[in-house]
């Protein structure tokens, strides 16, 4: 090789590409980045994948059957709508949950985007019915947690209840009850969560089409739910002004509840009026896709005119109308234990219920509490229907029977207290009551319609009179026989017997050959009574005295208007009837406020949101002296 010719292979470094290290580093970074993205994609949580972890007597992976029931139902409904709930029965899922410290941690490993979790501590009440009956209740906070976020979860309070003959079945039923409410709450929370809300907008943008298709049913359901609930809310909202607009009476009616209520007016006292509530919440059924209602537990509360409420009791079902002592306390109610038994329960001033009597067969009704709250008189029918109805007086201190009398071939038609010891009772020897008291639903109305004289009287009759008679029973003199105070005339009958506070006056609905009216009965001495019948230009029922016994408020069905039921008031001495309400609704069962200034009543109409299958009953009031 010449000196001027360079060996091309002399310096191999000349042939090595420059910047190899930089290129290598870039390649490593690119590969690393790609790998990371791939790993991230593979392990990313699925936004529609949901873990349901409801702790109800433990978690389902810990063996809790009610928790499993609740989780299964929620998961099945979510799946119906297109979500991808974690399959609880999958052993891999169980293993992940058992290993993790919390459901949220498990959800990460299961690639779930959300966790629906809650903890319920069920309360189990055993009722001594037959082989046993169990009532369960639970309240808790449902949390909807997005797995990727560290912020607070959406929290919704939920409660549920159930009953069954075994504890296990009752808890399972509680699982279903809780599941329904949890699902409703959770779905709304999911649909409005920032990660998912785009899918539920009316015109979704920038969302993957396959995801839209997957959640199509969910979108339809949420939209339908929203429309239905809004329509219901709108109906309820406009119902109030509608009612007011339709009121033709001279006085202003004030409503003390919502237009969705189904309340019953049971009495009055210093703490307001005693109201039985039967709450129902509109709810979109995931099974049918239609608007339905979830019933809540029934309750008793004192409600003041200004809207303040004081809860007294909650339970499965109140049979008929509870009653309060004239002083306001105690309150006596007949409970229906899931159709398995009836109880006579007294609730004291402190709110602690005490069951005085429980019977799987007998049906107790129309309790009336004596002044002073020492006793309660009520009817006791020995079976569902067709049995004679006894008159029963129980001590409210210990539930002892203070007095019991059979119908002796006839029928009792109402009872009232003159004072703490003396009880007046209507008895018709022919056994057919003139009027049916509508004061209680479900069979209470059948109480008086018994076959005439089917039961042979056992022993000498205590209520021996030719026609319906008002009898006085003196509980202070246990051995004494009832005293006949007043026997109605031929063709006459009395019902809806009510007593005044003074112990000297009674009011009743009257029917006679000349028509219907309102009877005022003055009790004189202790062994006689005189009756005056006032013409009220219509049919009177459910009379109630003012606190001073000078006026009587009552249901009035004006002559010629059989479908119309209004509230009217009349002086106890008689005279003109003042109609307080005049509207197309059924107004009934008036009660004077404790101070006598207002008259409260129930106002019935079709439910504005469910007009075909539900009535509402809203507590209303008018000034007692217009």
């Amino acid at each position: 090789m010449s000196a001027n010719t360079r060996d091309p292979y002399e310096n191999p470094a000349d042939y090595q590409p420059k910047g190899r290290l930089v290129a290598l580093l870039l390649l490593v970074v690119a590969l690393g980045g790609a790998g990371f993205l791939f790993w991230r994609t593979r392990n990313a949580a699925e936004p529609t994948r949901i873990l349901v972890a409801i702790d109800l007597n433990g978690q389902w992976w810990q063996g809790s059957a009610p928790a499993a029931k609740a989780s299964d139902e929620i998961a099945d409904w979510l799946r119906e709508l297109g979500f991808d709930p974690v399959r609880a029965g999958d052993p891999a899922v169980t293993a992940a949950l058992e290993k993790a410290a919390s459901p949220v941690e498990a959800a990460r490993s299961l690639k779930a985007g959300y966790v629906i979790q809650a903890k319920f501590e069920p309360k189990v009440i055993e009722h001594p019915i037959d082989e046993g009956y169990f009532e369960t209740r639970a309240e808790g906070i449902v949390q909807i947690v997005h797995v990727g976020e560290s912020g607070p979860a959406t929290e919704i309070p939920v409660q549920g209840w159930s009953g069954a003959k075994s504890k296990e079945r009752a808890l399972e039923g509680l699982g279903t009850s809780v599941a329904l409410r949890t699902f409703d709450a959770a779905l709304v929370a999911l649909a409005s969560h920032p990660k998912l809300e785009a899918f539920f907008q009316e015109n979704p943008r920038n969302v993957p089409p396959e995801r839209l298709q997957q959640l199509k049913r969910a979108r339809e359901f949420v939209a339908g739910r929203s429309r239905a609930l809004e329509a219901a809310a709108s109906a309820y909202k406009s119902a109030g002004p509608n009612r007011i607009a339709k009121e033709r009476g001279a006085v202003e009616v004030t409503y003390h509840g919502t237009m969705a209520d189904d309340d019953a007016l049971c009495g009055a006292g210093p703490e307001g009026v005693l109201v039985r509530t039967s709450p129902e919440t509109p709810f979109m059924s995931p099974a049918t896709g239609k608007l339905g209602r979830i019933p809540g537990l029934e309750g008793l509360e004192w409600r003041k005119p200004d809207g303040q409420k004081k809860a007294l009791w909650t339970g499965y079902n109140v049979y008929g109308y509870p009653a309060a002592a004239p002083e306001g306390t105690p309150v006596v109610l007949v409970e229906d234990l899931f159709g398995g038994a009836k109880t006579v329960t007294v609730v004291g001033a402190g709110g602690e219920p005490k069951r005085l009597k429980l019977d799987p067969v007998h049906r107790f009704s129309t309790p009336v509490v004596a002044p002073g709250g020492g006793a309660v008189a009520l009817e006791d029918r020995g079976c569902y229907s067709g049995c004679p109805t006894d008159l029963l007086v129980l001590s409210l201190a210990d539930g002892q029977e203070l007095f019991r009398a059979g119908p002796e071939g006839g029928a009792f038609g109402g009872h009232a207290w003159l004072d703490a010891r003396r009880l007046v009772v209507l008895h018709d020897p022919k056994g057919v009551a003139a009027e049916t008291e509508e004061a209680a639903p479900e069979g209470q109305a059948n109480a008086a319609k018994e076959p005439a004289a089917t039961a042979a009287a056992q022993g000498p009759k205590r209520f021996d009179a030719p026609r319906q008679t008002l009898w006085l029973v003196d509980l202070g003199n246990p051995g004494a026989s009832p005293v006949a105070l007043l026997t109605v005339g031929e063709g006459e009958s009395l019902s809806w017997l009510r007593g005044g506070r003074g112990g000297k006056r009674l009011a009743a609905a009257h029917r006679g050959p000349k028509g219907r009216g309102l009877a005022v009965i003055n009790v004189e001495g202790g062994n006689a009574a005189t009756m005056t019948v006032h013409d009220v230009s219509g049919d009177a029922s459910a009379p109630v005295f003012s606190p001073d016994d000078q006026r009587i408020a009552f249901n009035l069905v004006p002559n010629g208007a059989d479908d119309d039921e209004e509230i009217a008031v009349i002086s106890a001495a008689g005279g003109a009837v003042t109609r307080l309400t005049d509207n197309p609704f059924r107004d009934r069962y008036p009660q004077f406020s404790h101070d006598g200034a207002r008259i409260f009543f129930e106002s019935l109409d079709r439910d504005p949101a469910f007009p075909l299958d539900r009535n509402v009953s809203v507590i209303a009031s008018v000034p007692a002296a217009p």
């Binding site: 349901v52 389902w60 992976w61 063996g63 809790s64 059957a65 928790a67 499993a68 029931k69 989780s71 299964d72 998961a75 099945d76 799946r79 709930p85 399959r87 609880a88 029965g89 999958d90 052993p91 891999a92 169980t94």
Partner: protein, 701 residues
């Protein structure tokens, strides 16, 4: 470089190249679906959990062999040693597959026939033709090529003359060509010709190869060598075109893959033979060869490895031992509750969970399974700790969604073993139910609990066997139609005495009817001719038995099931079965053959009148118009009389069956048994095993 070296290098290069592309193709056999059902590919790994170790080894053998071949191409420096590696790998894989197939046949699931059934002789012949042709082109190897080509022709002759599935391939070719008819559509005739050509291809190649004995090829890449390797895949590929036009589904792609594998295998074998023979018999001087193993040493190494591998496989493939020692305690309430109530409750809960878990939430189902499992295990603890432990394993592992049948059987066998060791009179039978789901067929595993009333041990020609007499615990008798059952993988057969009691009542009622009859079917339905004779025969048998057929039925069933245990899965296929059922697949043939063996053998028991076995068979004639049981009856009567009981067109000849019954019913017990023994020996080519009771039945008090 000498001509030898040049050609030797060329051989080595060719072999290496083929190893590097054909080796992976061979390994890919493991990845191809072995079957396509409803366009769903069935992969071998879906079966992996079901296979015994030997079966698993067989399944993996192609992958291992292909990998070894691929790696060997980089390691081996000499053509001969690489060829020895290739041939040893292929031979080893073939033998491992064969042994594994034999082993898995005893187990609950056999290896698919598409894996085990390969026309090895034909493939070897084609490979030898190609190798021989290439060698013939080389002057130094011309003499060698004569032997190779001659060997190819010999292998081809063995392939065409050796019967497989009842017919020698040469007969198949003749039969196919015989179907060519001018009256048939041209397309059909072309199809027959094509089929015949396909079947004859190895033979044609071998014959053409013999031409080169006289006229060696002048070209280093002889056409015949290429045709021998790629001709068959090409011919099969023409069928692909037709399939493609009909719509290429999964099957099409599987078939295409198979063609590539076939081509790869042939080219690999051809190159290996070429390298081996040239290296052994026309060698290049040692000094001119690259460093590497000498052929002798390579043989030694390959042979040693093969011996170890095949030895291990042979050991793993040993058939299961038969016979069992099961001392029995009396049944007790706790055991009855555990096996009769708690276990079935757990089983039912598990089935319910298993059927739901893949679709919906099923937390409740899982809670129920766990609760039932707890109750079951807690009830077992006071009975026996090992039993409780086995049940715990069963409960725990059965929650695996991917549970395979073999694992299920092993778990249940664990419970049975614990029961046996504790002397408990309880047996659990594993079973599987198939359900149709939206995703296709799915198997769900269950157990059936039995109480063991008796254990009997036997020796059949000196080999131990056993039977368990059992009564079902979870359902009343009459719900299970099996009088007895046997599994190859189990060391005993089972006699369902509860079912037999119910069956004998039915038979007694039929025999006591006026006129007596053998079945409930209307007399005129199937084979009225023999119905009357069968009824009379049953009445006679009942009278001989004193009105109680149960002991005879138990004896018959026991002998029947014992024969299944003795026969195993490798019972030879009799010519009569092939003749009658030639158009069916081998699985159907084997099943019929095994039942034929058992139904004949049961008549040999001296504890029951053999006529009861005839009645058993003839009932199938009276109650079926098709099916395995009818075929077994037809074969049995044909074998016993020496006359086929079917017509030329294959239809069952019920008149002949009635005559056969008449003839056999007239024989005395000993004469009939002798006829049965003789027929059995004619069918299976050996004497039927003689059964001896080893000890008195061990009964639970």
């Amino acid at each position: 470089m000498s001509e030898y070296e040049f050609l030797y290098d060329a051989t080595l290069a060719r072999l290496r190249t083929r190893c590097r592309w054909a080796g992976p193709l061979v390994a890919l056999i493991t990845l191809l679906p072995y079957e396509v059902i409803d366009e769903r590919p069935q992969f071998l790994w879906d079966l992996a959990g079901e296979l015994p170790p030997a079966g698993l080894a067989a399944y993996l053998a192609p992958a291992v062999a292909g990998t070894l071949v691929f790696l060997g191409s980089y390691v081996c420096r000499r053509a001969a040693s690489l060829a020895i590696l290739v041939l040893a790998a292929m031979l080893g894989a073939t033998l491992v597959i064969r042994l594994g197939a034999d082993a898995s046949a005893w187990d609950i699931l056999a290896l698919p026939e598409s894996i085990t059934d390969r026309p090895q002789w034909a493939l070897l012949a084609l490979a030898l033709v190609s190798a021989g042709t290439v060698l013939a082109a080389r002057p130094h190897a011309r003499r060698l090529s004569r032997f190779v080509l001659g060997g190819a022709a010999l292998l081809a002759a063995v392939f065409y003359l050796w019967p497989a599935h009842g017919e020698a391939p040469i007969a198949t070719i003749v039969r196919v060509l015989g179907q060519i008819d001018g009256d048939l559509p041209a397309g059909l005739n072309v199809g027959f010709v094509f089929l015949a050509l396909l079947a004859a291809w190895p033979g044609i190649m071998a014959l053409l190869g013999l031409l080169h004995l006289r006229w060696p090829p002048s070209d280093g890449h002889p056409v015949l060598a290429i045709a021998a390797i790629y001709g068959m895949p090409a011919l099969l590929g023409t069928m692909l075109l037709r399939g493609f036009m009909a719509g290429a589904g999964v099957s099409w792609f599987v078939f295409l893959g198979g063609l590539f594998v076939l081509g790869g295998l042939l080219s690999l074998l051809a190159a290996a033979f070429e390298g081996l023979f040239e290296g052994l018999f026309a060698p290049v001087p040692e000094a001119d060869l690259p460093r590497g193993l000498r052929p002798r040493r390579a043989f030694g190494v390959a042979g040693g490895v093969l011996a170890v591998v095949l030895g291990a496989q042979a050991w793993a493939a040993l058939p299961p031992e038969k016979g069992v020692d099961w001392p029995l305690q009396p049944p007790n309430d706790a055991g009855d509750v555990l096996f009769g109530e708690l276990l079935p409750a757990w089983d039912a809960a598990r089935l319910s969970w298993d059927r739901r878990v893949r679709q919906d939430s099923s937390a409740q189902a899982m809670v129920e399974v766990k609760g039932a499992a707890r109750a079951m295990i807690e009830a077992a603890r006071p009975i026996d700790a090992r039993l409780a432990s086995a049940l715990e394993s069963l409960a725990r592992e059965s929650s695996d969604l991917g549970l395979a049948g073999r694992r299920w059987n092993a778990l249940v066998a664990g419970v049975n073993e614990a029961s046996r060791r504790a002397g408990l009179p309880y047996y659990l039978d594993p079973t599987a139910y198939v359900f149709q789901t939206a995703e296709g067929l799915r198997r769900h595993f269950r157990v059936r609990p039995y109480r063991i009333d008796r254990v009997r041990r036997f020796a059949a020609d000196g080999d131990p066997f056993a039977t368990l007499h059992v009564t079902r615990l979870d359902v009343p008798s009459g719900n299970d139609t099996r009088l007895g059952f046997s599994r190859d993988v189990q060391p005993f057969a089972l006699v369902a005495t509860g079912e037999i009691d119910g069956f004998q009542v039915d038979l007694a009622e039929l025999a006591s009817a006026d006129p007596p009859r053998c079945s409930d079917e209307a007399p005129g339905l199937f084979g009225p001719e023999g119905a009357e004779r069968c009824g009379l025969l049953l009445a006679e048998v009942l009278k001989r038995a004193g009105g109680d057929l149960a002991p005879a039925l138990v004896a018959l069933t026991e002998r029947h099931e014992l024969q299944h245990q003795i026969d195993g899965p490798h019972l030879p296929l009799p010519a009569l079965v092939l003749k009658r059922l030639g158009r069916y697949n081998e699985r159907v043939q084997r099943r019929a053959s095994r039942e034929l063996s058992a139904y004949l053998a049961e008549m040999l028991t001296t504890d029951a009148p053999p006529q009861l076995g005839l009645i058993h068979l003839y009932r199938f004639v009276l109650t079926s118009d098709r099916g395995n049981e009818l075929e077994v009856a037809v074969l049995a009567f044909s074998a016993l009389t020496g006359r086929p009981a079917w017509e030329a067109d294959g239809e069952v000849d019920r008149d002949a069956l009635a005559e056969a019954l008449e003839e056999l019913a007239a024989l005395s017990d000993d004469a009939l048994r002798a006829r049965v023994a003789s027929a059995w020996a004619d069918l299976y080519g050996r004497r039927v095993a003689a059964i001896e009771a080893v000890d008195a039945a061990v009964a639970a008090d």
